[in-house]
C-alpha cells in the first residue's frame, strides 16, 4: 500500500499520483485528508483507496471501477456520477450523496444529507442511518436503501428505480407511492447489506414512481404546416400563428409545446449596420485568403484551446431533440470547415466523436449521458446553466423520442416523457459552481477548457460570476435562440434578446476590468456571416450557429420538431423517418453554408479595412433604429441602412 499525505501534497498533485498508481494497480491510503474537496476525482482504475479521515465535496466523483473507503465523513456529492466501483463512508455524508451515479455502490454508515441519489441512473445508494429530505429526487433508476427514517418527501418526482426504507417513511414526495416488495427483491437487498457487513433490519417499505406525472393526459397535437417565416406572423395581428395557437390549445387545454425560436419581432443584429459603404466588399473573390480568421477559444487559463479556422462554432443541440444522423452530419460538416461541434444535452455517440474534429461535451442538471470516459475524449467541457429560448426552465423530451438506444446513452428508462431538471443538483450558487468547475478540471488533468452556457437573464451578474468562477469561456445565448421543445409562451415572451445580451456582457466585464479574463461566444438567432461580423464588432470572440446549421442541413422549418415525426429525419428518433436523412449529403450542405459564412466574414472584414477579424470593433457599427441606438449606445444613422445590409450577400 502506498501512502499519500495531504498535509504535504495538494489535492491536485495527489490526484495525479493516484491516477498513476491506479494504472500500476497499487492500493493507496490517503493521510490527513482534513475534509479537502475532490479527493480521488477522475480515477478510472480498479484499485482500493483508503481515506484516513474525512473527505470534502465530490469525493470519488467522476470515477469508474475504484473502491473507496472513507473512515469518517464526506461532504456534498460523494461518488458524483460514479460508473462502477464503490465508496464506503464510515461517518456521515453531506447533501446529494450518490448524485447521478451510473452503477456504483455507495454505502453511508452514518446519516446522509438531503436529495440523496438525485438524478441517479443505476447502482445502489445505501444509508445505515437516517436520510434527510427528498431522497431519490428525480432519480431515473437504481435503488436507494435507507435503514433509518426516510426524511420528508422521499422519492420526489422520481421517474424510475426503487427506494427501500426500513425505518419510518415520513412522507412521500410528489408522484411517489408505496408498493409491495417481492421476495427476490428483498433477497437482493439483504445480499447487498450482508456484503457490506450491515445488520439487516426485519423489513422494508418500498417506494416507486406512481406514474401520474410522467405523461401528459393529452398528447401534443400536430400542427398545420406553417413554415417558420409565416409562423412568425410579421405585422398582422391575427396571423396564422395566433390562429393555430388557439386551435391547438382548444384541443389540449394547456400551454403549447413547440420547437424553434421566438416568433415575435425583437431588437436584433439586423437593427445595426456598418458605418462604411460595403457595396464593393465582395469584389475580391479570393478575399478569404487575405484575412486572418483563425481563432483560439478556451486557452486563456492554460487549458488546450479549441482551434477554430474562423471565429465560429456549432451551437449546442442534443442527440435526442435531433436524430443521430443529424448530429453525425453536423459533426462532419463542422470538421470539414475546421470548427467545433457541441454535443448539447444527452451524451456523446462514437460516430459523433469520430466525425467531429473538435467536440464540446455539455453537462446539464439531469447529467443525462454525462460520464468520465466521454469527458476525457472531449475537446472542451461545458456546464449548461440555461438557454436563451427558455431561460431558467428545464426540458422535456416526448416519450416518442425516448427510444431504447437514446435511453441507453442517457442511462434512463426508455419510453418516458423525459424531464430534464432546470437546476443542477450541486450548483445552487456561485460558490458551489466554483467547486464544480474545479472537479471537472481535476477529472481532466486541467488540460481541457471548461465553459459555461448562459441563457441571457441577469447577464451583468452572471458574466461576473462566470469570470470569477474561473471558466475559460462563456457561450451567451440570447432570447432569439431556438429549442427542440419548449413552452410557446416562454419561447415568445421570456428572455433577454441577443443584442442587449452582448452589450451588457461586455459592459459587465469592463466594470470589473476583466475583459481579458474570459472569452465570449455569442449565439441566439444569428443567421449568417453578416450577423457574425456584427457580433464580433460588438465584442464577441466568436459566434455559434444552431438553427441556421439545421436549416442548411435539410430542415424545412415545418414546425413539427416537438411531435417526433419530422419528415426530413432531423427532429425525430423514428427509424422510418430518420432513414430519409442522408448524413453525407447534408454534411456537405452544412459545410457549404459554413464556407459562405467564412466568405462573408472575410469580405466584410476586408471591406471595413482590416486583414484580421480581431481588428473588428464597435466603431465599425451604427444603429439603424432608435431602439438599437438606445440598447447599444451606437450612433443612430438610419440612412446607412440600405448600403450596410443589402449588398454583401448578393455578390457572394
Amino acid at each position: 500500500m502506498v501512502s499519500i499525505d495531504l498535509a504535504e501534497l495538494s489535492v491536485r498533485d495527489a490526484n495525479a499520483q493516484l491516477r498513476t498508481l491506479g494504472e500500476a494497480g497499487e492500493a493507496v491510503e490517503i493521510l490527513n485528508p482534513d475534509a479537502r474537496h475532490h479527493i480521488g476525482v477522475g480515477l478510472t482504475a480498479p484499485i482500493n483507496v483508503n481515506v484516513q479521515g474525512s473527505a470534502g465535496y465530490f469525493c470519488a466523483g467522476l470515477t469508474d471501477q475504484a473502491r473507496f473507503h472513507v473512515s469518517h465523513n464526506v461532504g456534498w456529492g460523494v461518488g458524483d456520477n460514479m460508473y462502477s466501483g464503490s465508496v464506503v463512508v464510515g461517518g456521515n455524508a453531506g447533501a446529494i450523496p450518490g448524485v447521478a451515479i451510473r452503477g456504483a455502490e455507495i454505502v453511508i454508515k452514518g446519516n446522509m444529507g438531503s436529495r440523496a441519489g438525485q438524478v441517479m441512473k443505476a447502482g445502489t445508494l445505501c444509508c445505515a442511518g437516517n436520510a434527510n429530505f427528498m431522497a431519490g429526487y428525480m432519480m431515473y433508476g437504481g435503488r436507494i436503501i435507507i435503514l433509518g427514517d426516510s426524511g420528508e418527501r422521499v422519492g420526489e418526482d422520481m421517474s424510475s428505480g426503487e427506494i427501500f426504507v426500513a425505518g419510518n417513511v415520513q412522507d412521500l414526495g410528489s408522484d411517489a407511492m408505496l408498493t409491495d416488495i417481492d421476495s427476490k427483491e428483498l433477497q437482493s437487498v439483504y445480499e447487498f447489506l450482508d456484503r457490506y457487513g450491515i445488520k439487516a433490519p426485519k423489513g422494508f417499505s418500498k417506494i416507486v414512481n406512481a406514474g401520474k406525472k410522467l405523461r401528459y393526459g393529452t398528447p401534443e397535437t400536430p400542427m398545420r404546416s406553417i413554415p417558420f417565416n409565416t409562423f412568425s406572423g410579421d405585422s398582422a395581428y391575427w396571423n396564422p400563428k395566433v390562429q393555430e395557437d388557439i386551435t391547438v390549445k382548444a384541443q389540449s387545454g394547456r400551454y403549447r409545446i413547440r420547437g424553434y425560436g421566438g416568433a415575435r419581432p425583437l431588437p436584433h443584429l439586423s437593427d445595426i449596420g456598418f458605418r462604411k459603404d460595403l457595396t464593393q466588399a465582395g469584389a475580391d473573390r479570393d478575399v478569404v485568403s487575405t484575412v486572418q480568421m483563425a481563432t483560439e477559444i478556451g486557452g486563456i487559463n492554460g487549458a488546450r484551446p479549441l482551434k477554430l479556422s474562423m471565429p465560429v462554432m456549432i451551437a449546442p443541440m442534443s442527440y435526442g431533440a435531433l436524430s443521430r444522423s443529424t448530429k453525425y452530419a453536423i459533426a462532419m460538416g463542422s470538421a470539414m470547415s475546421g470548427i467545433a461541434e457541441n454535443t448539447g444535452e444527452g451524451g456523446m455517440s462514437d460516430a459523433q466523436r469520430d466525425a467531429a474534429g473538435q467536440l464540446i461535451f455539455q453537462c446539464l442538471g439531469g447529467r443525462l449521458g454525462w460520464n468520465i470516459h466521454d469527458m476525457r475524449r472531449a475537446d472542451a467541457l461545458e456546464i449548461y446553466i440555461s438557454q436563451g429560448a427558455k431561460p431558467g426552465l428545464g426540458g422535456q423530451l416526448m416519450a416518442k423520442k425516448v427510444t431504447p438506444e437514446l435511453a441507453e446513452i442517457r442511462g434512463i428508462p426508455s419510453g418516458i416523457d423525459l424531464r430534464s431538471p432546470s437546476r443542477h443538483p450541486d450548483i445552487l450558487g456561485a460558490d458551489d459552481l466554483v467547486i464544480k468547475v474545479e472537479e471537472f478540471r481535476e477529472a481532466t488533468g486541467y488540460e481541457v477548457p471548461v465553459s459555461v452556457k448562459l441563457g441571457a437573464g441577469r447577464i451583468r451578474d452572471d458574466i461576473k460570476i462566470a469570470t470569477k468562477d474561473g471558466f475559460d469561456f462563456v457561450e451567451l445565448d440570447g432570447m432569439q435562440g431556438s429549442t427542440g421543445a419548449g413552452s410557446a409562451e416562454v419561447i415568445d415572451n421570456v428572455g433577454i434578446p441577443t443584442l442587449p445580451a452582448i452589450i451588457e456582457a461586455i459592459e459587465a466585464l469592463e466594470e470589473i476590468d476583466a475583459r481579458d479574463k474570459i472569452q465570449l461566444v455569442l449565439m441566439g438567432g444569428l443567421r449568417d456571416g453578416v450577423d457574425a461580423v456584427k457580433a464580433l464588432c460588438l465584442g464577441a470572440d466568436a459566434v455559434a450557429f444552431g438553427t441556421s446549421v439545421i436549416v442548411a442541413g435539410g430542415c424545412i422549418s415545418c414546425m413539427q420538431c416537438h411531435i417526433g415525426q419530422c419528415v426530413t429525419g432531423i427532429a425525430t428518433q423514428d427509424p422510418e423517418h430518420e432513414k430519409r436523412y442522408q448524413p453525407e449529403v447534408e454534411a456537405s450542405n452544412i459545410h457549404r453554408f459554413l464556407e459562405s459564412v467564412r466568405w462573408q466574414i472575410a469580405a466584410i472584414t476586408r471591406g471595413l479595412g482590416y486583414d484580421d477579424v480581431t481588428s473588428l470593433n464597435r466603431d465599425d457599427l451604427v444603429a439603424l433604429t432608435p431602439e438599437a441606438a438606445d440598447i447599444t449606445g451606437l450612433p443612430y444613422e438610419p440612412p446607412m441602412a440600405d448600403t450596410a445590409q443589402g449588398q454583401v450577400g448578393v455578390t457572394s
Binding site: A7, N32, D34, A35, R36, H37, Q52, G53, S54, G56, Y57, S71, H72, N73, G75, W76, G91, N92, G94, A95, G113, S114, N132, F133, L428, G429, A430, D431, V434, I435, E438, D461, K464, I465, K468, I512
Partner: protein
C-alpha cells in the same frame, strides 16, 4: 456567494487566538469567496466604553486628519468623550465614553462617516482580499477574545469595496453582527416594515436586514433563540447565517438547506462553517465528529453556560 465561519470559546481562546482561528477557517473556504474577507471579533466588555470603527477613504488626499477630525468633532457634539484612538489600515478606531442612546449615536455617525461597527465588545474588520491579506493589514491574528464570526465574499451584485464586505453590523444596535450565505427574497418587504418603525439601513445588503431584524427583537427583550426561530418563518429565500452578540452565538438555516453548514462542538469550543474543510483547519490531521444542522433549524450557544 460566500463562505461563513464562526467560533465561540467556552473558556479563553487556547490553541489559536480567536482571530487566528477565524483566519484559518476562512482560508480553508476562500474558494467560496476570493474578493473580500471580514471578521466580527468579540473581546470581553470594557464597562461603559464603546468601540467604534470607521472606514477612512485611502484615496483622499493629504492628511486624512480632515476626515478623522470631522468624526471626532461629531462624537464630541453628541456628548461622547474620546478615550483612545488609532489608525489601523484604512480604518479609524476610537474608544469612547458615552451614556446616551446608542441608536441615535449610530444614525448620527452613519450620516457623518462610514461606520464599520459599534460595540462594547464587538469590532468588525473587513476589507478586500483574502483572509491573509486582511490579516496582513489589520493583524487579526493578534486578536484574543471570546468568540467571533468570519466571512469570505464573491462579489456579484455590488462592487468589490471594503464597505460592501461582510460581516454586517446591525446598524443602530451595539454588539450584534451577522454573516450570511444566501439570498433573502422578501428583502424589500421586510426592510420597509422595519423602516416604517424608524430603523435606518446603510446598505441594500440582505445581511444587514437580518442583523437589524434580529437586533430589533433582542432590543424588545426577545431571546436570541426565539428571534432565530421566527426568522425562519419571516425570512423568505435561501439562507444559512450565523449571528453573534456580546455573549451569544447562533445559527439559522432555511428549510431548503440550499446553503451548506456544518458544525463541531467539544469541551473547549463551538465552531460552525460552510464546509467541514474549515473546521478541520482548527484540528489538522484529526477526523472530526461533525454534525450538519437540519433544514429549518436554529440553535444558540452562550458564554455563560
Amino acid at each position: 456567494m460566500c463562505g461563513i465561519a464562526g467560533v465561540m470559546y467556552r473558556g479563553s481562546d487556547k490553541a489559536f487566538s480567536t482571530g487566528e482561528a477565524l483566519i484559518r477557517m476562512l482560508d480553508g473556504c476562500q474558494h467560496r469567496g476570493p474578493d473580500s474577507t471580514g471578521f466580527a471579533l468579540y473581546a470581553p466588555e470594557t464597562s461603559g466604553r464603546l468601540k467604534l470603527r470607521f472606514f477612512i477613504d485611502p484615496e483622499s488626499d493629504a492628511d486624512d486628519d480632515v476626515a478623522i477630525d470631522a468624526i471626532r468633532q461629531r462624537l464630541v457634539d453628541l456628548g461622547a468623550a474620546i478615550e483612545e484612538e488609532a489608525r489601523a489600515g484604512d480604518n479609524y478606531r476610537v474608544t469612547i465614553l458615552y451614556d446616551g442612546d446608542v441608536q441615535k449615536l449610530s444614525y448620527e455617525m452613519e450620516h457623518a462617516a462610514k461606520v464599520i461597527s459599534i460595540g462594547t465588545s464587538l469590532e468588525i474588520v473587513k476589507d478586500v482580499g483574502s483572509a491573509h491579506d486582511v490579516d496582513d493589514r489589520y493583524h487579526v491574528n493578534q486578536f484574543h477574545g471570546t468568540h467571533g464570526l468570519g466571512h469570505v465574499r464573491l462579489a456579484t451584485e455590488s462592487d468589490v469595496k471594503p464597505e460592501a464586505s461582510h460581516p454586517f453590523w446591525a446598524t443602530g444596535f451595539a454588539d450584534v453582527a451577522i454573516v450570511h450565505n444566501g439570498q433573502i427574497t422578501n428583502y424589500w418587504k421586510m426592510r420597509r416594515r422595519l423602516e416604517q418603525r424608524g430603523f435606518e439601513f446603510t446598505t441594500d445588503n440582505d445581511s444587514e436586514l437580518i442583523a437589524v431584524y434580529l437586533a430589533d427583537k433582542l432590543a424588545q427583550g426577545v431571546k436570541l433563540q426565539d428571534a432565530l426561530s421566527t426568522s425562519i418563518d419571516d425570512l423568505d429565500g435561501t439562507f444559512s447565517f450565523l449571528v453573534s452578540t456580546g455573549d451569544e452565538i447562533g445559527y439559522a438555516k432555511d428549510r431548503l438547506a440550499a446553503k451548506p453548514m456544518i458544525m463541531y462542538e467539544d469541551d473547549d469550543l463551538v465552531a460552525i462553517a460552510s464546509e467541514e474543510v474549515s473546521l478541520n483547519r482548527l484540528f489538522p490531521g484529526k477526523a472530526l465528529n461533525t454534525r450538519e444542522p437540519a433544514p429549518g433549524t436554529y440553535a444558540t450557544w452562550s458564554r455563560s453556560i
